[in-house]
């Protein structure tokens, strides 16, 4: 079956190209008519959620340096009073967190202490699910941010190419927090894995676009879903790369992978992609042994990476559009263990950062002597109160449709 436009060269046994323009060039115009990102979305507030995976030891993050009990339970891994970065006369930051110290002094950083929930779970997997679904009592299918996303789109909405990046996860997978019923959340590992990777073969990108341009009425439901989603993916990947390339960071980010992801996060904020939620993770806080070197390294990445991120936003006058929130699935035991580490515990501090954040300390440092019935730090602020505050004050939604229960707001924003 010879094609319309090719001539078979019998002598060579091969085929040469005819004069007519290939079909894909004629159709390429269609792709250009797809809407720009965010054409339907106001540049609004952005929430950056930072997961500190593994269970961060709060006691060596915000150190109760004036409390003798602290030095008693942490003889080998405790941080001495004269090395902390003091917040006040009782607590101070881990000395590696100078970036946070600066941000705190400038009034952009809130420390929320003693955060948790009743009957804390000490399994990484389950505690992470609890924090990400905001449902400690029963497992639910969608994440707390996913439920927020579901509130932002009409029930019958088709995937909207202008809203491809309403929420993005920086990493290889979409975390439970962003699992939504109706919104497709892209996981962006790197810009080279998100987006069609044509390598040295740009014609393959064009042809793939044409091949997915053929959804016709009457096709099987899965086929239409696949074709529509692929068109959005191909289009979105191209747009994202093009847009992000136009943003130049104003600072040099540290070289660790977490800080480099924050650089991408700032690019997204500054590129008018219509993004409201960005999720990023920094792992390996599960410090059962040799805690100091490991945790200090990670806390340095966290504080100094976020410091660079904030300064970058400031230089682009974007700092007032972003609120960053950290969380970890649990804090750790009060007492150090025999391997100079700490085991799984309960309550911990969170950090909240942003131009509109009311910097300061929220909640008291949990007591090291009045512990829960498992011997762990007691929480005074429920994590759902923090989430509900953010949903209401920052994302502008009624939290009751997203977070079960009613909580007193925390005044950090």
């Amino acid at each position: 079956m010879p094609s319309r436009r090719i001539f078979v060269s019998q002598s060579l046994g091969i085929v040469a190209l005819g004069a007519a323009a290939p079909a894909f060039l004629a159709r390429a115009a269609d792709a250009a008519t797809l809407p720009d990102l965010a054409s339907a979305v106001d540049p609004g507030n952005v929430l950056l959620v930072i997961q500190m995976g593994g269970g961060n030891d709060g006691l060596n993050t915000i150190v109760p340096y004036s409390d003798d009990a602290y030095h008693r339970v942490r003889p080998a891994i405790g941080i001495s009073a004269n090395s902390v970065l003091p917040i006040d006369g009782r607590i101070g930051l881990n000395p590696v967190m100078s970036g946070f110290d600066d941000l705190f002094k400038d009034g952009h950083l809130a420390l929320v202490q003693g955060v948790g929930y009743p009957n804390p779970n000490r399994s990484h997997f389950e505690a992470t699910q609890i924090w990400e679904t905001a449902s400690p009592d029963r497992p639910v299918s969608y994440g707390w941010l996913g439920r927020y996303l579901d509130q932002t789109v009409p029930a019958s909405a088709q995937p909207d190419p202008a809203r491809l990046f309403t929420a993005v996860a920086l990493g290889d997978t979409v975390p439970t927090a962003l699992i939504s019923q109706r919104v497709d959340v892209p996981a962006i590992g790197t810009l080279s894995t998100y987006g069609y990777n044509a390598g040295k073969d740009p014609a393959s990108r064009t042809a793939t676009g044409t091949l997915y341009d053929g959804a016709k009425p009457g096709q099987s439901p899965y086929l239409s879903l696949i074709e529509t989603t692929a068109r959005n993916a191909l289009h979105g990947g191209d747009l994202l790369r093009a847009k992000l390339a136009s943003y130049t960071p104003a600072v040099t980010y540290p070289n660790d992978p977490f800080s480099q992801q924050l650089r991408v996060a700032a690019q997204i904020v500054g590129s008018n992609t219509g993004t409201r939620i960005i999720f990023v993770s920094i792992g390996s806080f599960d410090t059962h042994a040799g805690q100091r070197s490991q945790q200090d390294r990670l806390l340095g990445y966290l504080a100094n990476g976020l410091h660079a991120f904030y300064k970058d936003l400031e230089a682009h006058q974007l700092q007032d559009r972003v609120l960053a929130l950290t969380f970890s699935e649990f804090g750790r035991r009060v007492q150090q263990n025999a391997s100079n580490g700490t085991d799984h515990g309960a309550a911990m501090p969170l950090f909240i950062l942003g131009g509109k954040v009311k910097g300061g300390v929220y909640g008291d440092h949990p007591s090291l002597t009045e512990l829960d019935n498992n011997g762990d730090l007691k929480h005074a602020i429920d994590f759902r109160a923090v989430y509900a505050t953010i949903v209401k004050q920052w994302l502008g939604r009624d939290p009751s449709a997203i977070i079960a229960g009613t909580y007193d707001p925390v005044a950090f924003v």
């Binding site: 389950e126 073969d201 740009p202 990947g237």
Partner: protein, 485 residues
């Protein structure tokens, strides 16, 4: 009305029409078309190479299914159990377990057994997120050994399986402080489904499973001192039940037969099996004595399985896509970055997202997962093997070479009978997607193969046929039809 067994890509699969219950589960008779043969190996196995499909197409259905379900000859030389030292090394153990299983899926000559193992892994979803790698490997071995036998024996073995006892906390289930996690899920997720038991049944089942725990070496042990030996009332029966009794009573529920048969039909046939079809298979299942091999065998030999209703009717799962691709491309060793790609596609093996496993179906399809599929296919198909060097290859070079496809331009040209673009395109369409392409698709791929532009200065010919054929093959494998199983 007899089921339509023709397949026509022009209608976009799944044409309208209704199920004929009377003939649905009867044996399909007649020789298999190439499409039907490919359908069989996609569902019952992990696809096939083009030459394997040549051999299968044209066989009588019975003989073809026998070839897939009951292969003769020895299995491939597989690693029985991962190297113990690496399986306990926290730095590498998860990856070692994942790669061990992917290697089995790729190389085994009993792919149907491995497909059933994958089914049970999704059904009894347990994750490396909470369970050590060695216990996950042991659980996969259990599915492999018992996944085609009596479901009651499988369910009982799973209930005593260390990975499961850890995963759903039954190790902590004691008379003084019962833990209901496993007792609930064994009904909700494993055997009955929501709404087919009450909270009191959960409480009583939990009491019956008290004392089913783990010793210090994480082996199953029954501890009588933790066990509640009072009378329990469970699903309408009363007695001093233990865990064995609970498993037995659950399996006797008529709703269980429908529950498990619906799940098998959703996995092997299509995602919305008609109640009549579920009912009919449930009768087969009950008559067989809960025999999984017989039940699934009935499905895979049936009219409904070989009908257009089932053809390309399911989205390919990432594992099906990846292993199917590696098998088709004749890759011998799973490339190391495959696990990371599977994660991007949304199916990290041995790490299902929750106790419910993967939701599958349309949830496999999102922008990120499709891009990962495209990029993985490109990465495998367009990778030219390193040039052969004179002399003997080192072991490392030979292992590296085994991660590259043996299928490619030269085999395709040979199969097509010459370096003719039209023949080559026809061969690719036939081998890669069984001609499930429309004329528009054919002409787009033709244009690609023939195009001359800035990045491709030469017309298709002896000078550049290798890259062009690889590119056309990758395009074809990335077609919408190949996202469907």
């Amino acid at each position: 009305m007899k089921l339509d067994t023709s397949t026509d890509p022009q209608v976009g699969f799944r044409p309208p029409g209704s199920l004929d219950e009377a003939s649905a589960l009867l044996r399909y008779e007649g020789p298999l078309t190439r499409r039907q043969a490919a359908h069989l190996v996609r569902r019952a196995a992990f696809g096939a190479t083009a030459p394997e499909l040549d051999a299968l197409a044209g066989l009588e259905a019975t003989a073809a299914v026998d070839t897939v379900l009951h292969p003769t000859g020895p299995d491939a030389d597989l690693v029985g159990y991962p190297d113990a030292a690496s399986l306990y090394d926290p730095k590498v153990r998860n990856n070692v377990a994942e790669m061990w299983w992917l290697d089995r899926m790729l190389r085994t000559r009993r792919p149907f057994v491995e497909k059933m193992t994958l089914f049970w892994h999704g059904h009894f979803a347990t994750s490396l997120g909470k369970v050590p790698a060695n216990l996950m490997v042991e659980q996969i071995d259990l599915f492999r050994a018992e996944g085609l036998g009596d479901f009651r024996a499988l369910l009982l073995a799973v209930s005593k399986n260390p990975a499961m006892l850890l995963w759903l906390d039954n190790r902590a289930n004691a008379k003084a402080h019962p833990n209901e996690n496993f007792a609930r899920e064994v009904m909700e997720l494993f055997a009955l489904g929501l709404g087919n038991y009450r909270e009191d049944d959960v409480k009583n089942a939990a009491r019956a499973f008290t004392g089913w725990t783990l010793d210090k070496e994480l082996r199953f042990v029954f501890r009588p001192e933790m066990h509640d030996d009072g009378v329990k009332t469970f699903l309408g029966k009363s007695g001093n039940f233990g865990g064995e009794d609970i498993v037995g009573i659950i399996a006797q529920q008529p709703v269980h037969q429908r529950f498990i048969c619906r799940k098998l039909l959703e996995f092997f046939v299509y995602s919305d099996p008609e109640p009549e079809l579920v009912e009919a298979l449930a009768r087969t299942y009950a008559l067989s004595g809960y025999d999984i091999a017989q039940t699934v065998g009935t499905v895979l030999r049936s009219n409904v399985f070989f009908s257009t209703r089932a053809y390309r009717a399911l989205p390919k799962s990432p594992i099906e896509l990846v292993i199917g691709l590696l098998r088709f491309m004749q890759v011998e060793v799973v490339p190391k970055d495959t696990v990371a790609w599977l994660r991007r596609m949304g199916q990290d093996p041995l790490s299902p997202p929750s106790v419910k496993g993967w939701d599958g179906g349309p949830t496999w399809i999102n922008t990120g997962s499709l891009l990962a599929r495209f990029n993985y296919v490109n990465r495998i198909v367009k990778a030219a093997p390193p040039p052969a060097r004179a002399g003997t290859m080192t072991a490392a070079a030979s292992a590296d070479l085994a991660t590259f496809p043996a299928f490619g331009p030269d085999q395709i040209v040979r199969r097509a009978g010459g370096l003719d673009a039209n023949r080559i395109l026809a061969q690719i369409a036939r081998d890669a997607v069984q001609d499930d392409v429309t004329s528009d698709v054919r002409s787009t791929i033709e244009d690609y193969l023939q195009s001359v532009g800035a990045s491709v200065p030469q017309a298709f010919g002896p000078e550049n046929y290798e890259d062009r054929i690889r590119g056309a093959l990758a395009l074809t494998l990335n077609l919408p039809s190949n996202q469907l199983n």
